[in-house]
């Protein structure tokens, strides 16, 4: 079997910007001195006149983006998730979210797979923060293909969009024929014993878990929940009804992320066991990203363990 192609979703983000920039010149791209890392640098190189570096001032960048959007123009601004969602939270809420402006926030280096930079840069709270802002769309692509399609789709959304990308190169799992629709979860594998709802780099782990579970005679349904808000409630409720147990998997705190979003829906609409896999209310630390994913239990084997737990909890 040939080696799987691995590309970071942030690279998909950068490539998408360039591709879109070739087709249209009606949007601007902003960064806060991280263009080389966030990959907006690709756009900067291709279209320097449409790129503005705001310097190390993320709060002001969000305000500038809001002002551009308030003049009816499209804008994509980028920084690390920690600074985009964390440092500039209130600017995102008040200057972008409250007036429901068309600003796309391209937040890269999300989660612990940032690696060596350590806890100060490993943002596992961004989905939780952004989810509380009314009218915010949140998209967390699983691979390069999805990242590219998501960026293009985001430009057509009315209102603010928070897009979450990773630093680590992860397997490309979708082909060019992959269909992406904002707000619609994707059933990647059908199954009847348990449903694994995954997002971001955990989607690939979920697909691996599917095979491991199959070997043990467990038939898992796998859902890629690329859009965390608005959440595809229908696909969640259907999975609860048809499989009776849910596992959520995300590279994010178990407080306030995908697991919380799924639980919120199910406890009101169709309660079944929900077992959350994520970062358990701790800070990350420095180390190579793959080892951190092992250490923090964000792997297929961990999903398998949670799936068995969820199945055991069924009545």
């Amino acid at each position: 079997m040939s080696e799987v192609k691995k590309v970071a979703t942030r690279v998909g983000f950068g490539n998408a910007l360039v591709k879109l920039g070739e087709k249209r010149d009606d949007f601007l791209v902003l960064d806060a001195d991280l263009a080389a890392a966030t990959q907006t640098g690709m756009f900067k190189k291709a279209f320097p006149e449409r790129f503005y570096d705001c310097g190390i001032a993320e709060s002001n960048m969000m305000g500038i983006a809001a002002g551009i959007a308030a003049t009816g123009k499209k804008v994509i601004c980028s920084s690390f998730a920690m600074f985009a969602a964390g440092r500039a939270f209130e600017q995102v809420r008040n200057s972008i979210g409250y007036p429901h402006l068309n600003v796309i926030i391209g937040a890269t280096h999300a989660g612990i797979s940032v690696g060596e930079d350590g806890a100060t840069h490993q943002c596992c709270e961004d989905i939780a923060l952004m989810r509380t802002i009314p009218g915010m769309t949140i998209i967390n692509p699983a691979d390069e293909t999805e990242a590219m399609k998501a960026v293009e789709a985001a430009l057509e959304i009315d209102g603010p969009v928070y897009m979450r990308f990773g630093r680590l190169a992860v397997p490309v799992i979708f082909g060019d024929d992959y269909k992406f629709e904002v707000g619609k979860g994707v059933e990647l594998k059908d199954g009847s014993d348990v449903t694994i709802i995954a997002t971001g780099l955990m989607v690939n782990e979920a697909l691996e878990a599917y095979e491991l579970l199959k070997e043990e005679g467990i038939n898992a349904r796998i859902i890629n929940m690329h859009t965390i808000k608005p959440l595809d409630k229908d696909i969640v409720i259907k999975a609860a009804k048809e499989t009776g147990a849910i596992v959520t998997a995300e590279e994010h705190s178990v407080i306030g992320g995908l697991g919380s979003a799924v639980s919120e829906v199910l406890c009101e609409e169709y309660p079944v066991p929900v077992v959350k896999l994520g970062v358990y209310d701790v800070f990350g630390h420095s180390g190579p990203a793959p080892k951190l994913l092992d250490e923090f239990g964000l792997r297929a084997v961990n999903i398998v363990e949670k799936a068995k737990k969820a199945i055991a909890m069924k009545k």
Binding site: L28, R50, Y52, C54, G55, A57, S59, N60, M62, G63, I64, A65, A66, G67, I68, A69, A70, T71, G72, K73, V75, E90, Q91, N94, S95, Y98, P99, H100
Partner: protein, 278 residues
């Protein structure tokens, strides 16, 4: 300035002040002090200077104004109503459930409001973004921002100032309402950003210091602003609470509404001033 225009503007500013007092009194809350101080600035911009159309508030090439000190919303609302964006009768619905007139400016629902503001330090960044957008997309509208002298203690203001200065956004003019008072006391007592003009100059802005309650000086400064190729900061020395005797230079009227008795007093003072002008 033409004497007739000056007289007309002073009459308008007085009516604007009455609208502020009526609104805040009806709401039983709000910020009269810093609203009264900017009455002349906003009146001049909306009645003389800015390219706007009250009947077409979303006109694409209109000049924009961002009230970065969003708590002066009663002043902006009163100016917009008197200018014809909406009926002046709405002013007494300020801060009430069901009213479009939110406690702080809301661009989604209030005709003429170009940016939602209220959290201090954020409006100026949006104004910078608007000015950048105009330059980038080759549009010739101007962007105005009104900041408070307390507000500029927020670090974001200086992030915005740095960017605007570096990018040479000559289509941006920011007024600083230098009334010398903020909630906890005088700006010196709290955490003064003075010298304000020197700070903006250090960020590569052109600065002009004026009496911000004087229409002739406002006009002169705005004319000067159009001749420079930098963003312009107009440091406007004003009297907080201007026009209502007991509110003038009184820190306790930053964010308090007059009771019925003091409301009557304020309105009779303003009516007397108006009668004198007319």
């Amino acid at each position: 300035m033409d004497a007739a225009l000056k007289e007309q503007l002073e009459i308008t500013a007085c009516k604007v002040r009455m609208g502020i007092i009526e609104g805040v009194h009806s709401a039983k809350s709000g910020h009269p002090g810093g609203s009264l101080s900017v009455a002349e600035i906003l009146t001049y911009l909306y009645f003389v200077h800015m390219n706007i159309d009250p009947k077409n508030p979303k006109m694409e090439n209109r000049d924009r104004l961002v009230l970065s000190k969003g708590h002066a919303a009663p002043a902006l609302y009163s100016v917009l109503a008197n200018r014809g964006y909406f009926d002046t009768s709405l002013l007494t619905t300020l801060r009430q459930i069901g009213s479009i007139l939110q406690g702080h400016p809301d661009m989604k629902h209030i005709p003429g409001v170009d940016m939602s503001t209220g959290s201090l330090g954020q409006g100026i960044s949006a104004a910078v973004g608007m000015a950048l957008s105009a330059k980038h997309f080759g549009q010739n509208y101007k962007v105005y921002a009104v900041l408070g002298d307390g507000e500029i203690e927020e670090g974001q203001v200086w992030e915005a100032a740095m960017f605007a200065g570096n990018k040479g956004l000559s289509n941006l003019t920011a007024f600083v309402d230098y009334n010398n008072l903020q909630i906890d006391g005088t700006i010196e007592e709290v955490n003064s950003a003075c010298p304000i003009d020197k700070k903006f100059e250090a960020f590569n802005w052109h600065t002009i210091v004026i009496d911000g309650n004087d229409f002739e000086q406002i006009e002169k400064a705005l004319k000067e602003a159009e001749t420079v190729d930098k963003p312009v900061a107009i440091i406007a020395k004003t009297v907080k609470g201007k026009g209502v005797s007991y509110m003038e230079n009184a820190v306790n009227w930053h964010g308090a509404a007059p009771n019925d008795e003091l409301y009557e007093q304020a309105m009779s003072e303003l009516k007397a001033a108006l009668a004198k002008m007319q």
